[in-house]
């Protein structure tokens, strides 16, 4: 087994969340690679949808710095306006979405807007982009994040993209959210999973080289550990080959990749 970076592991783990036949709201950064890996392995009939206004089947044949880069347009199944991509998601036709986040809490709520009081923020983060739309409207979603205490917090101070709200049963349905909510938080240390029907995240697996204590110690709440806790499966040779084909210079997976 060759060595790999934390980001390469996260891409491999994220790709395994994609089921064959899924319509995937792909997003940016590592998920672009995860889609390419899945499409070339276990999900050959998945399709990707991009909020810029694109649908694809085959992943782009050259490196993408953004979803709007020209290789992502060439060979697209559909080039259109954003509202049309959002229409499919509003109809419940997006099976899986990926969202990046700065902060996530135990109930899967994401903050990408403000650290501190919104009227006088300590840090102004870039904002929702399509994140809130994916969190509310896609059938299920996954977020990827660097595993740090300041990022995995007990409760986010600002909910940009809602997960399971206050964690009470039925919160999403009561508040009119159409989609099913988050299913996993993939971090640099492990995989946090949500129970069927939502609620509080628990540790499903720690990545190779990391143990449960380290993961819990870097989490800002008293993280529950799943009954069937395991070690995350390392990226396979074929997963690594695919990742390195789509990110040949390691822009996302060997540089700052996050």
């Amino acid at each position: 087994m060759s060595s790999y970076t934390p980001q390469e592991l996260m891409v491999a783990v994220a790709s395994r969340e994609i089921r064959d036949g899924d319509l995937v709201f792909v997003g940016m950064r590592l998920p672009i690679l995860a889609y390419a890996v899945a499409r070339n392995a276990h999900a050959p009939t998945a399709r990707g949808l991009f909020e810029v206004g694109l649908m694809r089947d085959q992943p782009a044949s050259a490196f993408l710095g953004t979803m709007g880069d020209p290789p992502n347009v060439t060979g697209a199944l559909w080039a259109t306006r954003m509202s049309n991509a959002m229409a499919l998601m509003a109809q419940g036709q997006v099976d899986l979405g990926f969202i990046g986040g700065a902060e996530v809490d135990r109930f899967g709520n994401l903050n990408t807007s403000y650290v501190g009081d919104p009227r006088k923020p300590i840090v102004k983060l870039p904002g929702s982009g399509g994140g809130a739309d994916i969190a509310i409207l896609s059938r299920r979603w996954v977020t990827l994040m660097s595993h740090e205490r300041r990022r995995l917090v007990d409760r986010v101070s600002f909910v940009t993209s809602p997960g399971y709200g206050d964690g009470t049963p039925g919160w999403r349905k009561r508040n009119g959210l159409l989609g099913g909510g988050p299913v996993a938080i993939i971090t640099t240390l492990g995989v946090l999973r949500f129970p069927e029907g939502g609620g509080e995240a628990y540790l499903q697996s720690a990545h190779p080289g990391h143990d449960v204590d380290e993961v819990r110690g870097n989490t800002g709440w008293d993280l529950k550990v799943g009954d069937d806790i395991s070690e995350t499966s390392a990226p396979t040779e074929s997963e690594l080959t695919a990742i390195r084909r789509f990110d040949p210079d390691g822009f996302w997976t060997r540089g700052k990749g996050h």
């Binding site: 940016m28 991009f50 909020e51 810029v52 206004g53 694109l54 710095g65 953004t66 979803m67 709007g68 880069d69 020209p70 347009v73 060439t74 697209a76 080039a79 259109t80 306006r81 954003m82 509202s83 959002m86 509003a90 807007s113 919104p118 923020p121 300590i122 840090v123 102004k124 983060l125 870039p126 904002g127 929702s128 982009g129 399509g130 994140g131 809130a132 739309d133 969190a135 509310i136 409207l137 600002f158 909910v159 940009t160 993209s161 809602p162 709200g165 919160w171 999403r172 508040n175 009119g176 959210l177 159409l178 822009f251 996050h258």
Partner: protein, 296 residues
């Protein structure tokens, strides 16, 4: 009568201080950087910027002190992360305080469609359960729906692959919220890679973005979207975004960047002389098959 003019003239005539300006409507591609830089050179003040995401252009205008309010879903540097001028403005009021009206990508599209259709607001199920409506007076929740108030730009500025002198603009690739921004706006400024005859644009009326009646200025501005990509013309210049992220990290660094890339240059043609154009030029062309508009 031709609508062709220089970017300096277009900004002078159609983007006054205090204007609400939609830009970057195709998201990461076709961003009208040349127009934004001209607004900085002409020292526009109190602009309200409207867009979905802004891949660095809004950050630059904010850093230059041109902006009073931003109405957008995301503002930063897509491949690099945070917008440092945006942060300085929001966190420290530097170089001046900034009002932020947060949206999601879906809701900013709806705000423009509402204006395009002349209704006060449009309802949606997105943003339910999010705190975004709590900080934005243009978003309200009632009857189990979020109501998105119309946002009407004074002017939308777009960069396209080709346009004719009447302002019939052809763009291809994903359009983001370009059509609704143009329809919602009082007027549209078009900059283009190629200025073409009307025979070309009218040969494919489906591809014309806006009614010509909306377009007030056409600027022939090759490279006007650099460093953002233009399908069939230019790749995204990733290194320029990386350098901008580094240089804009400090106020002094940003001011140096601003002098070098905007203030000391008279126009876009001079700017493009400083760019390694051959490194980003798209060489392998893939034209589509023409549509047949025959009728007899």
């Amino acid at each position: 009568m031709t609508k062709v003019m220089s970017m300096a003239q277009a900004v002078e005539q159609f983007v006054p201080d205090g204007a609400t300006v939609a830009m970057g409507t195709a998201l990461e591609a076709l961003i009208p950087f040349a127009a934004g830089h001209e607004m900085i050179r002409q020292q526009r003040r109190d602009l309200e910027l409207v867009g979905p995401i802004s891949d660095s252009l809004f950050d630059q205008l904010i850093g230059a002190g041109c902006v009073r309010r931003v109405t957008a879903a995301w503002l930063g540097n897509v491949s690099e992360g945070l917008g440092h001028c945006y942060r300085r403005a929001c966190e420290h009021g530097m170089p001046r305080p900034l009002e932020v009206r947060d949206h999601s990508n879906f809701s900013i599209a709806l705000a423009l469609w509402a204006a395009a259709w002349s209704v006060p607001s449009l309802p949606t199920r997105t943003l339910l359960g999010s705190d975004i409506p709590s900080t934005n007076p243009d978003l309200s929740t009632a009857d189990g729906l979020v109501h998105v108030k119309a946002v009407r730009p004074d002017v939308a500025v777009v960069h396209v692959q080709r346009a004719d002198e009447q302002g019939r603009a052809h763009a291809w690739g994903p359009l983001g919220i370009t059509e609704e921004a143009g329809l919602a706006a009082d007027r549209v400024i078009v900059s283009c890679e190629d200025l073409v005859d009307a025979d070309v644009t009218l040969s494919d009326p489906n591809r014309i973005l806006f009614p010509e009646t909306k377009v007030v200025a056409v600027v022939h501005e090759p490279g006007g979207a650099h460093p953002s990509p233009v399908q069939g013309h230019f790749k995204r210049d990733h290194a320029v975004y990386r350098d901008y992220a580094e240089e804009s990290r400090s106020l002094e660094g940003f001011e140096g960047w601003l002098r070098q890339w905007v203030l000391e240059l008279p126009d876009r043609a001079s700017y493009m002389k400083r760019v390694d154009v051959e490194a980003i030029r798209i060489e392998h062309h893939r034209p589509s098959v023409p549509a047949d508009f025959g009728y007899e």
